[in-house]
């Protein structure tokens, strides 16, 4: 503990993570570790059908099984609750989303009933005894088919179209008229996948009948959003819902949408007389029915280019598939427009964006949420244009990138990119991978008939949302801006304790928050205790608190910084009184008796215990004018946003724009069609780095997720809506065995929009998905293959190359040279 005093600038240091001691020794506490007295176990009974009418639900045999306490059906839920809030406008605002299916099931795996028993094994037994009769309906699997409304999922809406809007900026027609080249692409498709947290969803719910309080221990990753949905649904005051989270084994946004299961645990607890009810999701449940990432289809894309290959305009029609219930959607219908222009300079574009429900698992905001689909689209556009026009892909990018001197750059839709330097990242990535060498090796390999490609992916990770963009999808919504809360105090014995409204899942918040406070108070980070993990009763949350959307470095640490500064100001005031000097003459440091305040140029000092004691336990010694000093400082940070122009769909939607530039060298083996990554580099720019190893860890993790998504992970449904990838044998998440060696590097373009220059990061923009598609495109263009899907594996490459059933340039891409 006794570190040398006055060490400066902990922010930026490779400080080992404070939480490592706990997590790496298996001493973490996860929700499933928590066992409460008289706890019961819940199991869902799920639909085997993708789309069916529920004829009857009979829980009597299940309830009769010894050890079973109760069972719950949709009808009982309807009688006690209001349907969940819908974020979207009419007609989808009218749909009735309950946590158990009521008259219809809309995806395979949808919960229809719940059983509660004294043990998890008994609950499994009871679930088998629930009798449900179904009457199958026509399933809708493809989003484009869904828009034809031949079979409608939600009768109350009368349509499968959740949302539609046209995003148009600049002078599109003029640009096409003046274009030197026009490239048209019939169809492209971004596939469904999920980021597969190691820990599945877990909820313990307890609805105490005595004081009408609901207690949750769970691993939801956006609890302040969940309680807003739950309070309205369960008809209780929001203050009556307490949510605590513990260590969380990954979320990647997937755990944001666990509020339906949270509702059921509370209702089940109530029915069981207030006994706590625990639900631990199985892996197959997680894969089939927690949340998937958004699937998107891009139709009728047209690109106008000038004679140098500079893109001047894009028009396209995008259809997003949100699965059976919108839940967090249709926010994804606007979130993508945070990166409307990607890293490119084009000014004219029209995107007709719609979203449809289908009989598949509902989507959730999966890592890279809604932006990665659009970034992939743009990267495919840039690449195919480069190949068609014979411009090298690196050159093509340099001609189209936003230039370093243009920052802060305002995009056609009013977003302000804070900082960045894409050409510099490209240069660094090329240097790190040995671009020129690989070009030579590639030429030699091609002579031997080998299929080697080099691909570039440039990606944005926009962080700290302006929730005002929700008003673009529904003008009636009461959300805008962004905020986060933190509290910093000296406890009774003078300990520095920080609480933040975040619920980290491996992002190292305990460490980075301590670094920030240590710098403010000029003490060692070991002297700062950080309370992370959400707890509504810590009272540090706002309506946006949680851990999601690449923002802690900005929103979380700005809140921590604000609270620490508030505390410092109070300590100064108090110190000046005790040490009989001016506030400006107070110095902060660490002395023989721990952290202390000193009067400049004197030997007078008071340590933190002395200060805290004066306020908390020796208050008769405190003069009245200092009564307002509490040494317990709450600070709410707010992002400087305005409400966007809803009509024009124009405004700044995000505060910071981190960027990633990846290069992959990929070979498709001629005999096995296995795509092999021969080399890989990831260059990152998230502004000022607060803790280098934490950032590097996020980059590796996001890279693994992206490579998995590009080559291995695909949520597949058959024509009637059976999910074919419901176990790890079929949904094969990436493991270390499949990881290439990744070369990592970074540049720093500090953000002018955050106090430290840091940008939010962590989602990584799914950079490898674009990068690997680009490398495959480079490898296979000469073979007449167009990489039209974000998922490519040995089998699909075989079908494109040999069977020529799919992904043929000749069929999908047209070029008009004027």
């Amino acid at each position: 503990m006794n570190q040398p005093a006055d060490e400066k600038n902990w922010v930026g240091k490779a400080l080992p993570r404070k939480e490592e001691n706990r997590l790496l020794r298996g001493r973490g506490r996860f929700s499933d570790d928590v066992k409460l007295r008289d706890m019961l176990y819940l199991r869902f009974v799920r639909s085997p059908y993708a789309h069916a009418r529920i004829v009857s639900v009979d829980i009597s045999a299940a309830e009769a099984l010894p050890g079973v306490v109760c069972a719950l059906t949709g009808a009982e839920v309807v009688a006690q609750t209001q349907p969940f809030i819908e974020i979207g406008p009419d007609p989808f605002a009218k749909i009735k989303d309950y946590p158990l299916a009521v008259s219809k099931v809309r995806y395979q795996g949808e919960p229809v009933a719940a059983v509660v028993a004294q043990s998890a094994a008994l609950a499994d037994d009871a679930a088998e005894l629930v009798q449900i009769e179904y009457d199958a309906l026509d399933p809708v699997i493809d989003a484009e088919d869904a828009l034809l409304n031949k079979s409608v999922l939600h009768d109350e809406a009368g349509t499968n179209q959740v949302w539609n809007g046209v995003f148009e900026y600049g002078e599109v027609e003029k640009a096409f008229k003046e274009a030197a080249h026009i490239v048209s692409i019939d169809r492209m498709h971004f596939h469904r996948f999920s980021s597969t947290p190691l820990e599945n969803n877990v909820v313990i719910g307890c609805w105490d009948p005595k004081d009408e309080r609901i207690y949750y221990e769970c691993n939801n990753s956006f609890p302040s959003f969940a309680i807003q949905f739950l309070a309205a649904h369960l008809q209780v005051h929001i203050d009556r819902i307490r949510v605590e989270t513990s260590d969380i084994g990954g979320s990647f946004g997937i755990k944001i949408t666990s509020y339906p299961q949270m509702a059921i645990c509370a209702l089940a607890s109530k029915k069981a007389g207030g006994r706590p009810v625990k639900w631990v999701e199985t892996r197959s449940e997680h894969i089939t029915s927690s949340a998937h990432g958004n699937e998107r289809t891009f139709r009728d894309t047209r690109i106008a280019l000038d004679k140098n290959g500079v893109i001047t305009a894009i028009t396209s029609r995008h259809i997003d598939d949100c699965g059976a219930y919108p839940r967090y959607e249709p926010l994804g219908c606007v979130i993508w427009s945070q990166v409307f222009a990607g890293v490119y300079r084009f000014k004219n574009a029209r995107i007709d964006f719609s979203q449809a429900v289908t009989n598949k698992c509902p989507v959730g905001p999966n890592r890279g949420y809604s932006r990665m689909q659009h970034l992939w689209f743009l990267e495919r556009v840039v690449d195919i244009c480069a190949h068609e026009l014979g411009i090298p892909p690196d050159e093509m990018r340099l001609r189209n990138y936003i230039r370093p001197e243009e920052f802060p750059y305002t995009t056609p839709n009013g977003c302000v990119y804070d900082s960045g330097n894409y050409p510099k990242m490209l240069q660094l990535a090329k240097q790190r991978i040995g671009w020129d060498e690989w070009k030579k090796k590639q030429a030699a390999a091609r002579k031997e008939g080998r299929l080697v490609g080099i691909g570039i992916g440039t990606t944005l990770d926009s962080g700290t949302n302006n929730f005002g963009q929700s008003q673009i999808v529904n003008p009636g919504l009461p959300y805008s801006g962004n905020s986060q809360g933190a509290n910093c105090k000296l406890d009774i014995y003078g300990e520095v304790v920080v609480a933040v409204g975040s619920c980290p899942q491996g992002q190292g918040h305990e460490t980075t928050a301590a670094q920030v406070v240590a710098d403010v108070l000029n003490i060692h980070p070991d002297l700062v205790t950080v309370r992370t993990g959400f707890d509504t009763e810590r009272n540090v949350h706002t309506g946006f608190s949680g851990t999601y959307a690449s923002q802690f470095a900005v929103s979380g640490l700005s809140a921590v910084h604000g609270a620490a500064q508030k505390l410092k100001a109070e300590m100064k005031r108090l110190g000046a009184f005790v040490l009989q000097t001016k506030e400006n003459d107070i110095e902060f440091g660490t002395g023989a008796q721990g952290p202390e305040l000193r009067a400049k140029s004197t030997s007078k000092s008071i340590n933190y215990w002395g200060l805290a004691n004066l306020v908390n336990a020796n208050s008769a010694a405190l003069p009245e004018e200092l009564y307002e000093v509490t040494l317990n400082c709450r600070y709410i940070w707010r992002a400087p946003f305005k409400v966007p122009d809803k009509q024009r769909k124009y405004g700044n939607l995000t505060l910071t724009y981190a960027s990633q530039l990846h290069i992959a060298v990929v070979e498709v083996e001629r005999d096995t069609f296995i795509p092999r990554i021969l080399d890989y580099v990831a260059v990152d720019d998230c502004g000022t780095v607060i803790n280098p190893p934490i950032v590097e860890g996020q980059v590796y993790g996001a890279t693994a997720h992206g490579i998995g998504a590009a080559l291995m992970e695909n949520c597949v449904y058959d024509a009637v809506g059976n999910m074919l990838t419901s176990t790890f044998s079929d949904y094969t998440p990436i493991t270390a065995m499949n990881m290439p060696k990744v070369k990592y590097d970074h540049i720093e373009t500090p953000s002018p929009h955050s106090y430290s220059g840091a940008k939010g990061m962590g989602e990584g923009g799914a950079a490898p998905v674009h990068t690997i598609s680009a490398a495959l495109q480079d490898a296979l263009f000469a073979e007449g293959v167009f990489i039209d899907d974000s998922f490519n594996n040995a089998d699909s490459l075989f079908r494109a190359l040999v069977a020529k059933e799919i992904s043929q340039v000749g069929k999908l891409v047209k070029v008009e040279k004027r």
């Binding site: 037994d125 088998e128 197959s284 069609f673 044998s729 065995m737 594996n793 040995a794 089998d795 075989f798």
Partner: protein, 297 residues
């Protein structure tokens, strides 16, 4: 995911296990490594009323060399075989053991359980089919020896009677000048292969004196590719004879489309694996040290 309730019995000897099976009847199952059985029970696809645990029977996990054969105890774990210098005398055995699933599965899963399960995608049957392998079976009436080729009858179906168990697996040492290799393509470590090929060649100079070729995951059981063997046997291993063997292997393969790939793709893949395995087998037959690793996505 919890299995249905079941009775647990701990056998003290293999003979006692046999007695338990015959007394408990059809609803009883043996538990070896549990790496096939327990997942099925957790999914409630298998719901035995009784489990007879073999794990506490001593002397059932061993690798010995006797009379020109390697002998494996029924509970010998994949990991023991992977790490055994004795087993490495037949390199194709090491290729197989080291490539099954991941470390956790290899630490538990057994060679006896694997053959008894007769999973169409299991690795052991494919490899052992290219060697001279006998399965010793213990029943109420004592031991009998069944050649591997007749032991596995169909997908998930073996020659074993209900109250009979695998008590030993014996593999004849290949002759001098013989070399083999086993190669699979796996989408991820803890997943059965998309397709696999085992090749054991006995060479005399450039001529292939004898060939054994088996294919995995492209039929209801491992497939002995006899036409492919004939394409090499007695011939020089040249581009042409190899191509003929590959073609014969592709022809005999009978893959089903599933999440691992389309039928056409699997057929193409298995051909490529046979070709690569032949190349490695030839080098090993010549006495070269060749490391063979499965292909991963």
């Amino acid at each position: 995911m919890y299995p249905r309730a079941f009775h647990y019995h701990r056998a003290g000897s293999l003979q006692e296990a046999v007695t338990m099976l015959s007394q408990l009847g059809d609803d009883a199952k043996l538990l070896a490594g549990g790496q096939s059985l327990i997942p099925l029970m957790k999914l409630r696809f298998a719901n035995p009323a009784h489990l007879v645990d073999l794990n506490f029977v001593s002397g059932t996990s061993y690798i010995k060399e006797e009379n020109g054969s390697l002998l494996f105890g029924p509970l010998t774990r994949h990991a023991e075989i992977e790490n055994s210098a004795l087993a490495a005398k037949i390199p194709i055995l090491h290729d197989c053991a080291a490539g099954i699933a991941d470390v956790q599965v290899r630490n538990r899963g057994t060679i006896g359980g694997s053959l008894a399960e007769a999973d169409p995608s299991g690795d052991w049957a494919v490899v052992l089919m290219t060697l001279s392998t006998d399965v010793r079976c213990l029943g109420r009436n004592g031991q009998r020896t069944v050649a591997l080729n007749s032991f596995i009858k169909d997908a998930y179906t073996t020659e074993l009677a209900h109250d009979e168990l695998v008590s030993e697996v014996t593999v004849k040492m290949p002759p001098k000048g013989s070399g083999g290799a086993y190669l699979a393509f796996k989408r991820a470590a803890p997943v059965y292969p998309t397709a696999s090929a085992a090749v054991q060649l006995t060479m005399e100079g450039d001529t292939c004196k004898d060939a054994a070729i088996a294919l995995g995951c492209v039929g209801l059981t491992a497939i002995k590719a006899t036409d492919a063997e004939a394409a090499l046997r007695g011939k020089a291993v040249t581009e042409k004879s190899v191509a003929a063997a590959v073609e014969a292997a592709r022809t005999v393969a009978d893959p089903q489309p599933d999440m691992r790939g389309s039928a056409d793709y699997k057929r193409t893949l298995v051909g490529a694996l046979v070709k690569r395995a032949i190349a490695a087998a030839v080098r090993r037959a010549r006495g070269e040290q060749v490391e063979v690793n499965h292909l991963y996505a």
